[in-house]
Structures are given as structure tokens and as C-alpha cells.
């Protein structure tokens, strides 16, 4: 029997960040309903803090979907988290920089600051009855020791799923396998793969991550997303259907692509 893997579709968040497209509320709701109908486990619906309009769109998506969990993306910032949970998503995803270049160069902070802030953010969401996943941004360029220690604290705080984000898309298959197997060896936390396609390996590295123990795979329709895009939903299922079980068929994904093409073609 094939192992079941779950698709997290981020067309409406990471996909929409691709220059060339801007979705209206009705577009986002339409895409979300289609993804919901074919059994996408989680739909990352957007970033509430972008604007009131975006927050309203997410609310409409929640009201118009039945099966998928609706998640929203937030920066690791307590003010943003408070604003993000107003629309009552099923899951709050907290993007947490973990590489030294992100922590020391971009944020000009340190690891202790990151740990305290993410735990504060988790607490706020949990106190409001919202599940949390934490995205370890730029995990592919990070110190695995810091990742493991952070996972330990997140697990204690009630976080069950972390997202391994290859933010700049530089993973190779062997490095992907090494990271996922190391995390699985030291923790029982569930893993979500979030791979960018900068070196043309998004499908392969997502596949390797899934084989190494990741349960959730982030994808977008047509593989749209920043720079070279994310893991292509159809291509991933096509590549792995011989070894993994999914809620949907390739034919269903193709049908959705046909319906959404006019809305997303600007990102291709």
C-alpha cells in the first residue's frame, strides 16, 4: 500500500507573489473552491497583513470552502500575528528566518531573539485556538544544530508541523535527504517541504524530501511563484504517483489548471 502524502497548495500566497499577476477576491475564491473540491489538504490563502482587501478575500475563502484547511502566512512579528488571526484561519503559518544571513545580515538580530519571538507568536495564536505551523525560512542554508534546537522548543510549545523552506532554491537531492533524515532522527515533528525551482530541482527535491519522511508537500498550480517558481503541483503528482497516494488524480489537477489558466497566465 502506498504511503499517503498531503498537498499544501500555495498558489494564492507564494504563487501570487510572482510579478505579473494580481488576483481579485472572486479569483482567489474561485481557485480555492476548485482546490478544495479535489481534496487539497491545505490551501495557503494569502497574507492578511498585506491589506484589508486581502484579509477580506481570505475570509471569503474560509466561508466558501468545505474540506481543505485554510492557512494564512504571517511574518514572525506579534503585531502581524494578531492581525492575521482576526480572519480566523484554520492554520497560522509563521515565517521564521533561520539562516545566519537572514538573522544577522537581514534582521540584524540573533538566534536567541528569533527563538523568543517565534515562541511569543506561537503562544498568541495558540491562545486564540488557532493551529500553528512554523516555516523555517532559508533552512537550506542554515545551521542544522539551530534548527534542531528550535524544533525542540517549538514542539514543547505545541507546534506539530514545521516547513522546511528552500527559500533561495539551492538544495540538491543529497542535501535535501540529509536535512530531512537528520530532523526525523532527532524529532517526531512532522515536516512540510517548500522548495523553490532556482536550479530546476523543485520536483526532485520535494520527492526526495517526501521519501525521507516529509508528509506535506507545498505546490503551486503551474509551479508559479517568485523567481523561477515553486514545486509544480501536476508535475509532482505525475512524478510520484507510483510511490505515493494522493487525494486527487492528475486529470483533476489538469482540469483545475485549464480553469485557472486565464487568471494565472501572467505569472508564466
Amino acid at each position: 500500500m502506498k504511503e499517503t502524502k498531503y498537498i499544501v497548495d500555495t498558489t494564492l500566497r507564494d504563487g501570487e507573489q510572482s510579478p505579473g499577476i494580481a488576483l481579485r477576491m472572486e479569483d482567489k475564491v474561485k481557485i480555492a473552491k476548485l482546490l478544495d473540491e479535489i481534496g487539497v489538504h491545505e490551501i495557503e490563502a494569502g497574507i492578511p497583513c498585506v491589506s484589508r482587501r486581502e484579509s477580506d478575500s481570505i475570509q471569503e475563502i474560509i466561508n466558501n470552502t468545505k474540506n481543505s484547511k485554510i492557512s494564512v502566512w504571517s511574518r514572525m512579528n506579534t503585531a502581524d500575528v494578531k492581525q492575521s488571526i482576526v480572519c480566523k484561519p484554520h492554520i497560522l503559518h509563521i515565517g521564521t528566518p533561520v539562516s545566519y544571513i537572514q538573522i544577522y545580515s537581514k534582521l540584524k538580530k540573533n538566534k536567541a531573539w528569533v527563538q523568543k519571538n517565534v515562541l511569543d507568536c506561537v503562544e498568541i495564536a495558540k491562545n486564540n485556538g488557532i493551529d500553528v505551523t512554523v516555516g523555517l525560512e532559508d533552512a537550506s542554508r542554515s545551521d542544522i544544530g539551530f534548527i534542531l534546537s528550535l524544533i525542540k522548543e517549538l514542539k514543547k510549545a505545541g507546534v506539530d508541523i514545521i516547513r522546511i523552506a528552500d527559500t533561495v532554491g539551492i538544495l540538491t537531492p543529497s542535501r535535501t535527504k540529509e536535512i530531512i533524515e537528520t530532523i526525523k532522527a532527532y524529532s517526531d515533528i512532522e515536516i512540510e517541504m517548500h522548495i523553490h525551482n532556482d536550479l530546476g530541482m523543485a520536483v526532485a527535491n520535494s520527492l526526495v524530501g517526501a521519501k525521507a519522511g516529509a508528509t506535506y508537500i507545498d505546490c503551486t498550480l503551474f509551479g508559479i511563484g517568485e523567481r523561477t517558481g515553486n514545486c509544480n503541483f501536476y508535475d509532482f503528482v505525475h512524478a510520484t504517483e507510483s510511490i505515493f497516494q494522493f487525494a486527487m488524480s492528475k486529470k483533476q489537477i489538469r482540469r483545475i489548471e485549464d480553469e485557472c489558466y486565464p487568471l494565472l497566465k501572467g505569472a508564466l
Binding site: 498585506v50 537581514k106 533561495v168 539551492i170 520536483v203 523561477t228
Partner: protein, 323 residues
């Protein structure tokens, strides 16, 4: 020692461009770090003369062609011939067929084509098995891309098992993409760090002329839009330090980071774009008003703004705020 063979020019016999374009394409492949360029006979005949530098391989159907076209670094052929300078090609479509390689141990050089679903299986074990089955052969791996894993398989082969792969530019022959392998090796193991990759735009232009196909705007390494940034959080990060959100500097592949104003832009991106267009940056309230207007218009139009559209909009908003 790593050897990358590019076989792009074995695929366009019916649509060959001028000899100058073909020669230019070959020269640029060597410039980016390709070790040998493989040609079809029609491509070779069209070129008339090979550029002086670089190793060339001729794809042939019959051994007799070796005599007809002498002087090549190597020849590739599907026939089983253990001849010096011959790379024998064998197609393996299924992991279970790997054992058949045992019968080809006498080949000095061999190209294994196919194995497109290797990543789903025990790819590491299978690659080691291939090496064991052919202990005395130089093995060139040419994974196919049916499942979008060819570049990953080629890179894994080069970094963990073998030293020899065949690729094609933009992966056009359903192979690993040459440019993805070159860039991955540079980032992962600093392979040939001094090679000039700024020629990628010219190489892409020539490829489009040769193939008659347009490269996708989002194609890794060579896509025209891959360095465009709109999202506020990333635009800000890239401004502070480009390495935060880019695996490599766009300039190293002849590209440049381009800020696009759209629904996801923030105030910092708006100010940067105003400066870039040599427009005055107004007070903070006006910038906020401009940002709001940008978001409204982009959402309404379902698109980002071109620079001239943004400039017009900025002028209107700033004028209205003054009144």
C-alpha cells in the same frame, strides 16, 4: 574529473540556422564550462568548419561514418562496438533493466540514457550498482526528464557517483538542462568558478534562433523574468543584501534584479522605484496613498504595473495630494 557533454545540436537537423550561429553557439557552450559539444552529421556539415578550440563529438549511425568524418574527440553510436573513441549508447528505461549492463562490460566508454523514474526508486543504490556492473568503463549518464528529475539525477551522479553526464541546453532533448547543471556545480562545489556565465543571455538568444522555441520566462538560470521582484518583504530584503533572497548574483548570469510594482509592493519598493525613475519622493502620507492606489489598480487589472504606468500614476497621485 567532471565531463559535461552538451548534445543540443543533435536535435535540430530539419531547422538548422546559419553556420555562424551554430559556431557561435558552440563557442559559448565552451565559455560556460561545457567540456564537449556533440553534433549531428547535418549540424557538422552545416557548420563546414569547427571552431578551433574545444572537444567535439559526432553522433553517428554507422561505424563507417567514423572513417568518413575523421578527427573528432569522440563518436557516439547505438551499435555495440568496442572501438577507441566510441561512446556506446544504451537506453535503460527501468531500474530492473540495469542488470543487463553486465553484458556490456567490454565497452570502454558508455552512455546510459533514460532512467527517468530513478528518483522514485532507490536511486543512490542503483547508481552504485551501475558502477559495480561496469567497473572498467567510463560511464556517461544521460537521464531523461519525463518526471522533471533529470537535472537532479545528473547532479547527484556527478556529486556522489560518477564524473560524466550528457545534458542539453534548456533540457531541450528531454535531458538535464546544461545551464542548471553548470550553475548547481558552481554553487555546490565551486566547479569551474572562473567560467564566464554572463554569456547566458546571448546563448539563450542563439538557442531560440536555432530551435525556433521561446525559452519560458521562468526557466531556471536563463528565464527573462527570474530576477523580477514584487513582494514587499523580499524587495526590502534584496535591497538590504541581495544574497538574502537570491542563490547567486543576477549579474553573474548576465541578468539584473528588477523591482516590479504591484499588489504586493510595500512603501520601500515604491520609494525605490520613484528614485529609479528619477521622480521626487513625496512625504510619507503621499507614498501611502500612492501604495494604496497601486494595490487597487493592480487588483482591478489583475496585473503588475509597467514602469511608465507607475510613473503616470505617481504623478497623478502626487498632484492630487498637492491640490
Amino acid at each position: 574529473m567532471i565531463r559535461i557533454i552538451d548534445n543540443t545540436l543533435t536535435g535540430f537537423d530539419g531547422n538548422l540556422p546559419s553556420k555562424e550561429e551554430l559556431q557561435g553557439f558552440c563557442k559559448l557552450l565552451f565559455t560556460i564550462g561545457v567540456d564537449a559539444v556533440e553534433l549531428s552529421i547535418p549540424a557538422y556539415e552545416k557548420m563546414e568548419k569547427l571552431p578551433e578550440d574545444g572537444n567535439y563529438i559526432l553522433q553517428i549511425d554507422y561505424v563507417d561514418d567514423m572513417r568518413k568524418y575523421p578527427g573528432f574527440y569522440r563518436y557516439t553510436c547505438r551499435f555495440e562496438q568496442n572501438i577507441d573513441n566510441m561512446i556506446h549508447e544504451v537506453q535503460i528505461n527501468d531500474i530492473r533493466e540495469i542488470v543487463r549492463l553486465r553484458a556490456l562490460q567490454y565497452c570502454k566508454e558508455m552512455r546510459i540514457i533514460g532512467l527517468d523514474d530513478l528518483m522514485c526508486g532507490t536511486y543512490e543504490k542503483s547508481m552504485q550498482e551501475i558502477k559495480k556492473l561496469l567497473p572498467n568503463s567510463r560511464i556517461n549518464f544521460c537521464p531523461e526528464n519525463t518526471f522533471h528529475c533529470a537535472s537532479a539525477l545528473a547532479v547527484h551522479w556527478l556529486l556522489q557517483c560518477g564524473s560524466d553526464v550528457t545534458t542539453s541546453f534548456a533540457g531541450i532533448k528531454n535531458n538535464a538542462a546544461t545551464e542548471e547543471i553548470i550553475m548547481t556545480l558552481r554553487l555546490a562545489v565551486r566547479h569551474k568558478p572562473n567560467r564566464d556565465l554572463t554569456v547566458f543571455p546571448e546563448l539563450t538568444r542563439l538557442f531560440e534562433a536555432i530551435s525556433g522555441r521561446k525559452i519560458s520566462n521562468k526557466k531556471p538560470v536563463i528565464g527573462r523574468d527570474i530576477f523580477k521582484v514584487e513582494a514587499g518583504i523580499h524587495a526590502d530584503g534584496i535591497l538590504k543584501n541581495p544574497a538574502t533572497y537570491e542563490a547567486y548574483a543576477p549579474s553573474c548570469v548576465g541578468g539584473k534584479c528588477e523591482m516590479v510594482i504591484g499588489k504586493h509592493s510595500g512603501t520601500k519598493a515604491i520609494k525605490l522605484k520613484l528614485g529609479e525613475l528619477q521622480l521626487n519622493i513625496p512625504r510619507e502620507e503621499t507614498v501611502m496613498k500612492l501604495l494604496e492606489t497601486v494595490k487597487e489598480i493592480c487588483t482591478e487589472n489583475r496585473s503588475s504595473l509597467k514602469d511608465d504606468e507607475f510613473a503616470r500614476l505617481a504623478a497623478e497621485v502626487i498632484a492630487n495630494e498637492r491640490n
